[in-house]
Protein backbone atom coordinates (compact mmCIF):
# COMPACT_ATOMS: atom_id res chain seq x y z
CA UNK A 1 0.00 0.00 0.00
CA UNK A 2 2.82 2.32 0.86
CA UNK A 3 4.36 2.05 -2.62
CA UNK A 4 0.98 2.63 -4.26
CA UNK A 5 0.44 5.69 -2.07
CA UNK A 6 3.94 6.95 -2.86
CA UNK A 7 3.30 6.53 -6.60
CA UNK A 8 0.06 8.51 -6.33
CA UNK A 9 1.73 11.26 -4.31
CA UNK A 10 4.47 11.63 -6.94
CA UNK A 11 1.91 11.74 -9.76
CA UNK A 12 -0.23 14.32 -7.97
CA UNK A 13 2.71 16.61 -7.25
CA UNK A 14 4.37 15.98 -10.62
CA UNK A 15 1.22 16.44 -12.70
CA UNK A 16 0.31 19.69 -10.89
CA UNK A 17 3.75 21.09 -11.72
CA UNK A 18 3.77 19.72 -15.28
CA UNK A 19 0.34 20.99 -16.29
CA UNK A 20 0.74 24.43 -14.73
CA UNK A 21 4.20 24.63 -16.31
CA UNK A 22 2.65 23.80 -19.69
CA UNK A 23 -0.06 26.46 -19.25
CA UNK A 24 2.39 29.13 -18.10
CA UNK A 25 4.87 28.46 -20.91
CA UNK A 26 2.15 29.30 -23.46
CA UNK A 27 2.65 32.94 -22.40
CA UNK A 28 6.26 32.98 -23.58
CA UNK A 29 6.56 35.88 -26.02
CA UNK A 30 2.99 37.06 -25.35
CA UNK A 31 2.93 38.68 -21.90
CA UNK A 32 2.15 42.42 -21.63
CA UNK A 33 5.75 43.51 -20.90
CA UNK A 34 9.19 42.04 -21.50
CA UNK A 35 10.11 41.84 -17.82
CA UNK A 36 6.95 39.84 -17.06
CA UNK A 37 7.63 37.58 -20.00
CA UNK A 38 10.95 36.47 -18.58
CA UNK A 39 9.57 36.19 -15.04
CA UNK A 40 6.66 34.07 -16.25
CA UNK A 41 8.93 31.81 -18.31
CA UNK A 42 11.17 31.36 -15.25
CA UNK A 43 8.19 30.17 -13.21
CA UNK A 44 7.15 27.75 -15.97
CA UNK A 45 10.66 26.33 -16.20
CA UNK A 46 10.89 25.91 -12.41
CA UNK A 47 7.65 23.94 -12.47
CA UNK A 48 8.66 21.72 -15.39
CA UNK A 49 11.94 21.02 -13.62
CA UNK A 50 10.03 19.96 -10.50
CA UNK A 51 7.68 17.82 -12.60
CA UNK A 52 10.65 15.98 -14.04
CA UNK A 53 11.89 15.04 -10.55
CA UNK A 54 8.46 13.93 -9.29
CA UNK A 55 7.65 11.90 -12.39
CA UNK A 56 11.08 10.25 -12.47
CA UNK A 57 10.50 9.13 -8.88
CA UNK A 58 6.98 7.96 -9.78
CA UNK A 59 8.42 5.79 -12.56
CA UNK A 60 11.09 4.43 -10.24
CA UNK A 61 8.55 3.55 -7.55
CA UNK A 62 6.18 1.97 -10.07
CA UNK A 63 8.97 -0.32 -11.28
CA UNK A 64 7.62 -0.85 -14.79
CA UNK A 65 10.44 0.98 -16.51
CA UNK A 66 8.46 4.11 -17.31
CA UNK A 67 10.56 7.30 -17.46
CA UNK A 68 9.44 10.84 -16.56
CA UNK A 69 8.97 11.50 -20.29
CA UNK A 70 6.84 8.35 -20.73
CA UNK A 71 4.61 9.49 -17.89
CA UNK A 72 4.35 13.05 -19.20
CA UNK A 73 3.76 12.33 -22.86
CA UNK A 74 2.16 8.89 -23.11
CA UNK A 75 -0.56 8.92 -20.48
CA UNK A 76 -4.18 9.69 -21.29
CA UNK A 77 -6.53 12.22 -19.69
CA UNK A 78 -7.88 9.95 -16.98
CA UNK A 79 -4.40 8.90 -15.84
CA UNK A 80 -3.42 12.46 -14.97
CA UNK A 81 -3.67 13.39 -11.30
CA UNK A 82 -3.33 17.18 -11.40
CA UNK A 83 -5.93 19.33 -9.66
CA UNK A 84 -8.50 21.09 -11.85
CA UNK A 85 -7.17 24.56 -10.97
CA UNK A 86 -3.89 24.15 -12.84
CA UNK A 87 -5.50 22.97 -16.08
CA UNK A 88 -7.83 25.99 -16.32
CA UNK A 89 -7.19 28.08 -19.46
CA UNK A 90 -4.85 31.07 -19.25
CA UNK A 91 -7.65 33.56 -19.92
CA UNK A 92 -6.43 37.14 -19.55
CA UNK A 93 -3.24 37.96 -17.67
CA UNK A 94 -5.16 38.60 -14.45
CA UNK A 95 -6.72 35.16 -14.65
CA UNK A 96 -3.30 33.59 -15.19
CA UNK A 97 -1.89 35.47 -12.19
CA UNK A 98 -4.85 34.53 -9.97
CA UNK A 99 -4.53 30.85 -10.93
CA UNK A 100 -0.80 31.05 -10.14
CA UNK A 101 -1.42 32.73 -6.79
CA UNK A 102 -4.08 30.22 -5.68
CA UNK A 103 -1.82 27.34 -6.61
CA UNK A 104 1.31 28.88 -5.04
CA UNK A 105 -0.60 29.55 -1.79
CA UNK A 106 -1.26 25.79 -1.57
CA UNK A 107 1.97 24.56 -3.17
CA UNK A 108 4.32 26.27 -0.70
CA UNK A 109 2.84 24.84 2.55
CA UNK A 110 2.44 21.47 0.80
CA UNK A 111 6.12 21.35 -0.19
CA UNK A 112 7.20 22.60 3.25
CA UNK A 113 5.25 19.76 4.86
CA UNK A 114 6.68 17.24 2.39
CA UNK A 115 10.19 18.20 3.53
CA UNK A 116 9.34 16.12 6.64
CA UNK A 117 8.22 13.08 4.61
CA UNK A 118 9.21 9.64 5.87
CA UNK A 119 10.43 8.96 2.32
CA UNK A 120 13.82 10.71 1.92
CA UNK A 121 13.50 11.03 -1.87
CA UNK A 122 10.21 12.93 -1.43
CA UNK A 123 11.78 15.17 1.21
CA UNK A 124 14.73 15.93 -1.11
CA UNK A 125 12.54 16.94 -4.08
CA UNK A 126 10.33 19.05 -1.80
CA UNK A 127 13.32 20.83 -0.26
CA UNK A 128 14.57 21.82 -3.71
CA UNK A 129 11.11 23.03 -4.73
CA UNK A 130 10.48 25.11 -1.60
CA UNK A 131 13.13 27.69 -2.56
CA UNK A 132 11.61 28.16 -6.00
CA UNK A 133 7.99 28.22 -4.89
CA UNK A 134 8.74 30.64 -2.05
CA UNK A 135 9.59 33.16 -4.76
CA UNK A 136 6.61 32.16 -6.94
CA UNK A 137 4.24 32.96 -4.08
CA UNK A 138 6.04 36.19 -3.23
CA UNK A 139 5.67 37.29 -6.86
CA UNK A 140 2.11 36.15 -7.51
CA UNK A 141 0.70 37.51 -4.23
CA UNK A 142 2.43 40.85 -4.84
CA UNK A 143 0.90 41.10 -8.32
CA UNK A 144 -2.56 40.05 -7.14
CA UNK A 145 -2.43 42.78 -4.47
CA UNK A 146 -1.17 45.43 -6.90
CA UNK A 147 -3.80 44.67 -9.53
CA UNK A 148 -6.65 44.02 -7.09
CA UNK A 149 -5.92 47.24 -5.21
CA UNK A 150 -5.12 49.06 -8.45
CA UNK A 151 -7.24 50.76 -11.08
CA UNK A 152 -11.02 50.06 -11.31
CA UNK A 153 -10.46 47.93 -14.43
CA UNK A 154 -7.69 45.79 -12.92
CA UNK A 155 -9.73 45.40 -9.72
CA UNK A 156 -12.75 44.17 -11.69
CA UNK A 157 -10.63 41.71 -13.67
CA UNK A 158 -8.98 40.29 -10.55
CA UNK A 159 -12.31 39.94 -8.76
CA UNK A 160 -13.75 38.11 -11.80
CA UNK A 161 -10.69 35.82 -11.87
CA UNK A 162 -11.04 35.05 -8.15
CA UNK A 163 -14.77 34.29 -8.53
CA UNK A 164 -14.04 32.03 -11.49
CA UNK A 165 -11.09 30.11 -10.06
CA UNK A 166 -11.67 29.90 -6.31
CA UNK A 167 -14.22 27.04 -6.56
CA UNK A 168 -11.53 24.87 -8.16
CA UNK A 169 -9.44 25.02 -4.99
CA UNK A 170 -11.90 22.79 -3.13
CA UNK A 171 -10.19 19.53 -4.02
CA UNK A 172 -6.80 20.91 -2.96
CA UNK A 173 -7.84 21.24 0.66
CA UNK A 174 -10.26 18.31 1.10
CA UNK A 175 -8.58 14.93 1.57
CA UNK A 176 -9.75 11.89 -0.41
CA UNK A 177 -8.90 8.27 0.56
CA UNK A 178 -5.59 8.45 -1.32
CA UNK A 179 -4.57 11.63 0.54
CA UNK A 180 -5.47 9.85 3.76
CA UNK A 181 -3.35 6.83 2.82
CA UNK A 182 -0.44 9.16 1.98
CA UNK A 183 -0.75 10.85 5.38
CA UNK A 184 -1.21 7.54 7.23
CA UNK A 185 2.01 6.18 5.70
CA UNK A 186 3.87 9.31 6.86
CA UNK A 187 4.67 10.19 3.24
CA UNK A 188 2.89 13.52 3.32
CA UNK A 189 0.89 15.85 5.56
CA UNK A 190 -2.78 15.75 6.52
CA UNK A 191 -4.35 18.04 3.93
CA UNK A 192 -6.30 19.93 6.61
CA UNK A 193 -2.97 21.31 7.92
CA UNK A 194 -2.08 22.55 4.44
CA UNK A 195 -5.64 23.86 4.03
CA UNK A 196 -5.32 26.06 7.13
CA UNK A 197 -2.18 27.73 5.78
CA UNK A 198 -3.66 28.02 2.30
CA UNK A 199 -6.82 29.68 3.58
CA UNK A 200 -4.88 32.08 5.81
CA UNK A 201 -2.67 33.18 2.89
CA UNK A 202 -5.62 33.60 0.52
CA UNK A 203 -7.62 35.57 3.09
CA UNK A 204 -4.71 37.90 3.88
CA UNK A 205 -3.85 38.57 0.24
CA UNK A 206 -7.50 39.01 -0.78
CA UNK A 207 -7.92 41.58 2.03
CA UNK A 208 -4.82 43.52 0.93
CA UNK A 209 -6.01 43.31 -2.67
CA UNK A 210 -9.49 44.60 -1.66
CA UNK A 211 -11.01 41.48 -3.23
CA UNK A 212 -14.04 39.67 -1.80
CA UNK A 213 -13.70 35.92 -1.34
CA UNK A 214 -16.60 33.90 -2.77
CA UNK A 215 -18.94 33.02 0.06
CA UNK A 216 -19.71 29.42 -1.03
CA UNK A 217 -17.28 26.98 0.57
CA UNK A 218 -15.06 25.85 -2.29
CA UNK A 219 -14.97 22.24 -1.24
CA UNK A 220 -18.71 21.77 -1.73
CA UNK A 221 -18.94 23.29 -5.19
CA UNK A 222 -16.89 20.65 -6.92
CA UNK A 223 -17.18 17.71 -4.58
CA UNK A 224 -17.71 15.17 -7.35
CA UNK A 225 -15.44 16.60 -9.97
CA UNK A 226 -11.83 16.08 -9.03
CA UNK A 227 -8.73 16.28 -11.21
CA UNK A 228 -6.66 14.41 -8.66
CA UNK A 229 -8.90 11.37 -9.20
CA UNK A 230 -8.51 11.66 -13.00
CA UNK A 231 -11.80 13.44 -13.71
CA UNK A 232 -10.78 16.53 -15.66
CA UNK A 233 -12.50 19.51 -17.26
CA UNK A 234 -13.16 19.82 -20.97
CA UNK A 235 -10.17 22.05 -21.70
CA UNK A 236 -7.77 19.43 -20.39
CA UNK A 237 -8.08 17.25 -23.50
CA UNK A 238 -6.99 20.14 -25.69
CA UNK A 239 -4.04 20.89 -23.42
CA UNK A 240 -2.85 17.27 -23.60
CA UNK A 241 -3.33 17.17 -27.37
CA UNK A 242 -1.01 20.14 -27.75
CA UNK A 243 1.51 18.91 -25.17
CA UNK A 244 1.68 15.34 -26.40
CA UNK A 245 1.12 15.50 -30.16
CA UNK A 246 4.78 15.20 -31.11
CA UNK A 247 5.40 12.02 -29.10
CA UNK A 248 2.07 10.64 -30.29
CA UNK A 249 2.75 11.42 -33.98
CA UNK A 250 6.43 10.45 -33.91
CA UNK A 251 6.84 7.91 -31.09
CA UNK A 252 10.26 8.02 -29.41
CA UNK A 253 11.32 11.07 -31.37
CA UNK A 254 14.20 12.83 -29.61
CA UNK A 255 16.76 15.54 -30.17
Amino acid sequence: MSDAALFELCLRMGDNALILGQRVSAWCGHTPVLEEDIAMANVGLDLIGQAKLWLALAGEVEGKGRSADDLAFLRDTRDFRNVLLVEQPNGDYGQTLMRQFLFDAWHLPMLKALCASAEPRVAAIAAKGVKEVDYHLDRSSDLVIRLGDGAPESHAKMQAALDLLHPFTGEMTAADPIDEAIAAAGLGPALCDVAARFEATVAAVAADATLALPSAPARIVLANWRGKAGRHTEEFGRLLAEMQWLQRAYPEASW
Partner: protein
Protein backbone atom coordinates in the same frame (compact mmCIF):
# COMPACT_ATOMS: atom_id res chain seq x y z
CA UNK B 1 4.72 57.73 -23.15
CA UNK B 2 2.82 58.70 -20.04
CA UNK B 3 1.83 55.08 -19.38
CA UNK B 4 5.37 53.77 -19.72
CA UNK B 5 6.96 52.43 -16.52
CA UNK B 6 10.07 54.36 -15.47
CA UNK B 7 13.50 53.08 -16.40
CA UNK B 8 15.77 51.58 -13.72
CA UNK B 9 19.47 50.85 -13.88
CA UNK B 10 20.49 47.51 -12.39
CA UNK B 11 23.70 46.81 -10.48
CA UNK B 12 24.65 43.32 -9.37
CA UNK B 13 27.31 42.11 -6.97
CA UNK B 14 28.62 38.85 -8.41
CA UNK B 15 30.47 37.63 -5.34
CA UNK B 16 31.05 38.72 -1.78
CA UNK B 17 33.94 41.16 -1.63
CA UNK B 18 33.39 42.50 -5.13
CA UNK B 19 31.64 45.74 -5.88
CA UNK B 20 28.28 46.05 -7.60
CA UNK B 21 28.57 46.33 -11.37
CA UNK B 22 26.16 47.84 -13.83
CA UNK B 23 24.56 45.01 -15.81
CA UNK B 24 21.75 46.72 -17.70
CA UNK B 25 18.41 48.39 -17.30
CA UNK B 26 14.70 47.55 -17.19
CA UNK B 27 11.26 49.07 -16.75
CA UNK B 28 9.23 48.72 -13.53
CA UNK B 29 6.48 50.68 -11.79
CA UNK B 30 8.40 51.01 -8.51
CA UNK B 31 11.56 49.97 -6.67
CA UNK B 32 10.18 46.74 -5.25
CA UNK B 33 9.07 45.52 -8.66
CA UNK B 34 12.35 46.67 -10.15
CA UNK B 35 14.22 44.37 -7.75
CA UNK B 36 11.94 41.46 -8.66
CA UNK B 37 12.34 42.11 -12.37
CA UNK B 38 16.10 42.44 -11.98
CA UNK B 39 16.16 39.10 -10.23
CA UNK B 40 14.18 37.51 -13.05
CA UNK B 41 15.95 39.18 -15.95
CA UNK B 42 19.57 39.40 -14.78
CA UNK B 43 20.23 36.59 -12.29
CA UNK B 44 18.83 33.58 -14.16
CA UNK B 45 22.26 31.95 -14.37
CA UNK B 46 23.28 32.42 -10.78
CA UNK B 47 25.09 35.69 -11.44
CA UNK B 48 24.51 37.50 -8.19
CA UNK B 49 24.46 37.75 -4.41
CA UNK B 50 23.07 41.29 -4.21
CA UNK B 51 21.04 43.63 -6.43
CA UNK B 52 20.85 47.42 -6.47
CA UNK B 53 18.36 49.30 -8.60
CA UNK B 54 18.49 53.03 -9.21
CA UNK B 55 16.00 55.15 -11.11
CA UNK B 56 17.76 56.07 -14.33
CA UNK B 57 16.39 59.61 -13.97
CA UNK B 58 18.22 59.98 -10.62
CA UNK B 59 21.64 59.34 -12.11
CA UNK B 60 23.67 62.46 -12.72
CA UNK B 61 26.14 61.87 -15.54
CA UNK B 62 29.11 63.82 -16.82
CA UNK B 63 28.56 65.48 -20.16
CA UNK B 64 30.35 63.83 -23.10
CA UNK B 65 31.29 67.31 -24.33
CA UNK B 66 33.32 67.93 -21.14
CA UNK B 67 35.52 64.90 -21.82
CA UNK B 68 38.68 66.88 -22.57
CA UNK B 69 38.41 69.17 -19.58
CA UNK B 70 37.56 66.33 -17.21
CA UNK B 71 39.89 63.54 -18.26
CA UNK B 72 42.75 64.83 -20.40
CA UNK B 73 44.70 66.56 -17.57
CA UNK B 74 45.09 63.34 -15.54
CA UNK B 75 46.11 61.39 -18.58
CA UNK B 76 49.14 63.60 -18.95
CA UNK B 77 50.32 63.07 -15.34
CA UNK B 78 52.05 59.77 -15.71
CA UNK B 79 53.56 60.00 -12.18
CA UNK B 80 50.10 59.44 -10.72
CA UNK B 81 49.91 55.93 -12.17
CA UNK B 82 51.45 53.26 -9.94
CA UNK B 83 53.17 51.65 -12.92
CA UNK B 84 56.65 51.84 -11.32
CA UNK B 85 55.91 49.13 -8.75
CA UNK B 86 56.09 45.39 -9.22
CA UNK B 87 53.01 43.83 -7.65
CA UNK B 88 53.72 40.38 -6.16
CA UNK B 89 51.37 37.66 -7.44
CA UNK B 90 50.21 36.93 -3.87
CA UNK B 91 48.73 40.42 -3.62
CA UNK B 92 46.07 39.46 -6.17
CA UNK B 93 43.78 41.94 -7.87
CA UNK B 94 44.49 45.58 -7.09
Amino acid sequence: MKNEWPLWEVFIRGQHGQSHRHVGSLHAPDAEMAIKHARDVYTRRNEGVSIWVVKAADIVASAPGDKQALFEPSNAKVYRHPTFYDIPDEAGRM
